[in-house]
Amino acid sequence: MMESNNTTQMKVILEAALLTSPTPLSLDDMLRLFSERIERATLRMLLDELKQDWQARAFNSMELVQVASGWRFQALPELATYLSRLNPDRPHRYSRAAMETLAIIAYRQPVTRGDIEELRGVAVNPNTMRQLQERDWIDVVGQREVPGRPSLYATTKTFLDDLNLKSLADLPAMETFIEQPFVEEEPLVEDLQEATAQVDFLDNGETQA
């Protein structure tokens, strides 16, 4: 096999070493590749040549660059978008505070920050609200006419789409109070619906009921 006695062969060895090394190679590292004694100046010259060889490629993908700890081949910056698709970052999760804020807005809308704070018992981080607004999951639908005119927040259509809901009514009903001091009998629309249904039913001439 080849002897590393001429510059072309040395460049081939350098190229293989640089393309296979997971970390940048220092000049000292690279000198270790060769059994012969090589001047650092020679090595620098070879690296410059190698760099130019790659730059001269008609359709190039990589460049040889010098960084703090040595030399390395790296993909051209314009290719980074493509390469990043191989290992997409795992989507991060919202904090508990953000999730609770979102839940309150979803179930209690339209609500002000004050409402949320009252329910959660802690101050709402403005970043949380901004985060949810940037996601286009909540927006301001008005102001409550009280001193300070606080913004009223509600969930958006995007929120429903992203959670695969047709309407807020598809959100699971939550009546989970650990203890309810007393159960207030509020007339619910469901009751009204039932009532209307009952009327229709009667109208249809069913006198039996």
Partner: protein
Amino acid sequence: MIILATELKAYTEPRIHGEAITSLPHDLYIPPDALEVYLETFEGPLDLLLYLIRKHNLDILDIPMAELTRQYIGYVEKMQAIKLELAADYLLMSAMLIEIKSRMLLPKPTELESEDDPRAELVRRLMEYEAIKLAAQKLDELPQVGVDLMVANAYFEKIVEVQAAQVSMEDLMAAWQNVLKRASHFAHHKVGKAELSVREHMSQILRKLKAQNMMEFSALFDIEADGIPKLVVCFLAILELAREGLVKITQQAAFTPIYLTINQN
């Protein structure tokens, strides 16, 4: 240096008390003090047998039976203290050899078939083991990534594409449940589907009013498209908005249009 070379040689050619194992062990007897050597040099009794067969043309069946049995028992007695679990493999092999031998001593029925040869099982095992041993050597000779094969591993600047957090219905419910649990000591609510619909309509009406400033009451109802339940919900939403002071409902005179505006006071 010479000593080192000898030691290296001894590593490949098993030695006991400095003596190379050449004629040893004709009788398959391993002195207990040499056991360690055997355990290190050979990968087990099959390996030892193969070594004896291949290197020294041992006829494993040409072993004085009485001697082997006597040694076998002595062996067990002396071995109490040594690596018994490893030595057990050797003992098992000795027992197997004795069994083969004894079966061969028994008078055979005349219609004996060749596969009934008591040695057949041992031969099969030896052949299978030798095949694996050779395969292992070949595997070891294959180039290995990281040892004699270097794979490309150049650098690229990873673009961190912040992916939006995924929220599932379960996440949302869990969060809401937490809020309710904590809020339970100062409030009570009954949140049903219907109330949610009302609140959703409240948001929708506010959105519409925000966009148009003022809307006629009837424009908030789509009598053609919405069923009665939805119209009722919409009406409840308007009432709720008015109650919470979020909208102002005005009418110039009786029977004139009713207008809704966002409460600006």
